[in-house]
């Protein structure tokens, strides 16, 4: 069924389709309309779930963690300050192996306070042991939230589905909705290894000494690798069921590209594609590589996609202060290439911070810069120094 939805509403529709049992949320711009839509679904009776309006995001994530431990299918959503406030629980949720699905319309972090989009919130959770998708259309948000449940429950890890705040969360677009009965079949309730059950009592969250702790961290390392396989498999099967799949990375005009922009999210990918079109019109072999699965990082796919290019730029939408180069994706890509012994010049372009207007012509300039000569380092675009 073809609908016109914002990415936030698309996430809410996916949650409804997944027949989630417990939702716990706290409002924050730009996530709020997800919560509002879910509140509507629950109060109209369209979704049979407990909706907990907690008193903070720390509690929201804690509540879904508790509910997941009790065997419920759960959902939460937050952005920016909310994500930062729940930071402690992010680590705990992944280490306790809770299959939580969370929508994360990305928003700039305070200070100063800014409700608009960049990826500083999401990028700051990149090491917390969550599976992280970054979607680039409302359709993909819908599909990925559904896929997320399969992955989360398959590998027992929490899954975040990130996308641009405002630029997607509040942008109405076409979305094809699945038959909810089919979704139910796609997402059967799996038996969980352990739940809080008075008939088979187990202890979650013990104190673990140096003799044992490392092993659980290593389990997480292993689980991340398994998650990569789950993501691939789920995406393929989802495609078979519902006709849409995405891969771990997505290329645009990549086949014969010499100059590639690597990026993530809606605005950056959208505008980069438009810029590549422009560049191609002017005879530049431009291409775009989008990272859809950000964690675990699709190292192999990225290296493969970039092995044939002359040079590339990584367009980042967040700043990691004090790092040798400040773009988070740039660090991943450079490391990925290094691990595979591929050494190519590349640029880190930082743009769209705090939703600084990012134009197609800006990204076109990046292609120009790549053509003008190889470089290594960071280029701050769009800022008034």
């Amino acid at each position: 069924m073809r609908e016109a939805l914002t990415s936030n509403y698309a996430a809410a529709y996916a949650v409804k389709a997944a027949d989630v049992d417990v939702i716990a949320v706290y409002p924050i711009t730009p996530q709020t309309t997800i919560v509002e839509k879910l509140s509507e679904f629950v109060s109209s009776g369209e979704l049979d779930a407990e909706l907990i309006h907690t008193e903070s995001e720390h509690s929201a994530l804690s509540a879904v963690l508790g509910a997941a431990a009790a065997g419920a299918r759960v959902f939460t959503a937050t952005s920016s300050q909310g994500l930062a406030l729940a930071y402690e629980v992010l680590h705990i949720a992944s280490a306790m192996r809770m299959p939580i699905v969370m929508a994360t319309p990305a928003r700039a972090l305070s200070a100063p306070i800014n409700i608009h989009n960049d990826y500083s919130d999401v990028m700051n959770m990149r090491d917390t042991g969550w599976v992280i998708y970054i979607a680039s259309s409302a359709q993909e948000v819908y599909d990925t939230v559904i896929q997320g449940y399969r992955v989360a429950e398959g590998v027992n890890l929490p899954v975040a589905v990130a996308y641009d705040g405002f630029l997607m969360s509040h942008t109405l677009e076409p979305v094809e909705l699945n038959d909810e009965g089919e979704v139910a079949k796609f997402l059967p309730r799996a038996a969980r290894p352990h739940v809080l059950d008075p008939r088979r009592p187990v202890t979650f969250g013990p104190l673990v000494s140096p003799d044992w702790y490392y092993e659980f961290k290593y389990q997480q390392v292993t689980a991340m690798n398994e998650a990569r396989e789950w993501v691939v498999k789920t995406d393929v099967e989802y495609g078979q069921w519902f006709g849409r799949s995405y891969g771990l990375v997505e290329g645009y005009l990549l086949e014969d590209a010499d100059y590639v922009v690597v990026t993530y999210g809606g605005a950056a990918y959208g505008n980069a594609r438009a810029a590549a079109d422009l560049a191609r019109e002017r005879g530049v072999a431009a291409g775009v590589l989008r990272i859809r699965l950000y964690r675990p990082f699709p190292t192999g796919e990225v290296v493969k996609a970039l092995s044939g290019v002359k040079t590339f730029a990584v367009l980042d939408r967040a700043i990691m202060f004090g790092s040798p180069a400040e773009g988070p994706l740039y660090k991943d890509v450079v490391l990925a290439m290094y691990l595979h012994g591929v050494d190519k010049p590349s640029l880190n372009v930082i743009h769209g911070i705090g939703q600084r207007a990012m134009y197609v012509r800006d990204i076109y300039k990046v292609f120009q810069a790549l053509r003008e000569g190889p470089g290594r380092g960071v280029m701050y675009m769009g800022v008034r120094p």
Partner: protein, 171 residues
């Protein structure tokens, strides 16, 4: 690609107006994008929203700088800011104010008060837009309207859209 900018006041529903038209285009099989501008301004403050319609998938997510069409919900907005900045060809306006561009005008406030009993002009402007721009059909707009309003409110707004469609004229 058709690009549109809406000017209104916080609380007048111009985000909904842009969404209604985007949804209508989508229901007709076109591609569309509608998005608001957002700031600390509250009820009463001048605000904007945007719309893109195309027959191909829309990649681009940059701000609209040169709208083909501008919709202005209130004449006092001309005093508060410049709704015509960067505008290319058409203006749809509530009130009979002739601009240098091709101007479609109607007294949306009077119409809304007449039909809804309240001066909520967004759906009237949608009706006027449909007539002025001819990019989506009235039928698709009415379908979209059904997602935003139910029951009696739907009927009144549908009537308002149709009346505005009929009453708007180029000045």
């Amino acid at each position: 690609m058709l690009e549109v900018r809406f000017h209104g006041r916080g609380g007048q529903g111009i985000v909904t107006a842009a969404q209604l038209l985007a949804a209508a285009a989508i229901y007709e099989g076109k591609y569309a994008q509608a998005f608001p501008e957002f700031g600390p301004e509250r009820r009463g403050a001048p605000v904007k929203s945007y719309l893109r319609i195309w027959d191909r998938p829309i990649y681009v997510r940059e701000p609209v700088l040169n709208p083909d069409v501008v919709v202005v919900s209130d004449l006092s907005l001309f005093k508060a800011e410049n709704p015509l900045e960067g505008a290319k060809s058409v203006v749809v306006v509530n009130g009979f104010y002739k601009t240098p561009l091709r101007t479609y005008a109607l007294d949306a406030t009077a119409l809304a008060v007449k039909v809804l009993g309240r001066p909520i002009v967004n759906t009237a402007l949608v009706g006027a837009f449909v007539k002025a721009v001819e990019v989506v059909s009235l039928g698709a707009v009415l379908k979209a309207l059904g997602k935003y309003f139910q029951g009696r409110l739907y009927e009144l707004n549908a009537r308002l859209v149709e009346m505005a469609y009929r009453e708007v004229r180029e000045i």
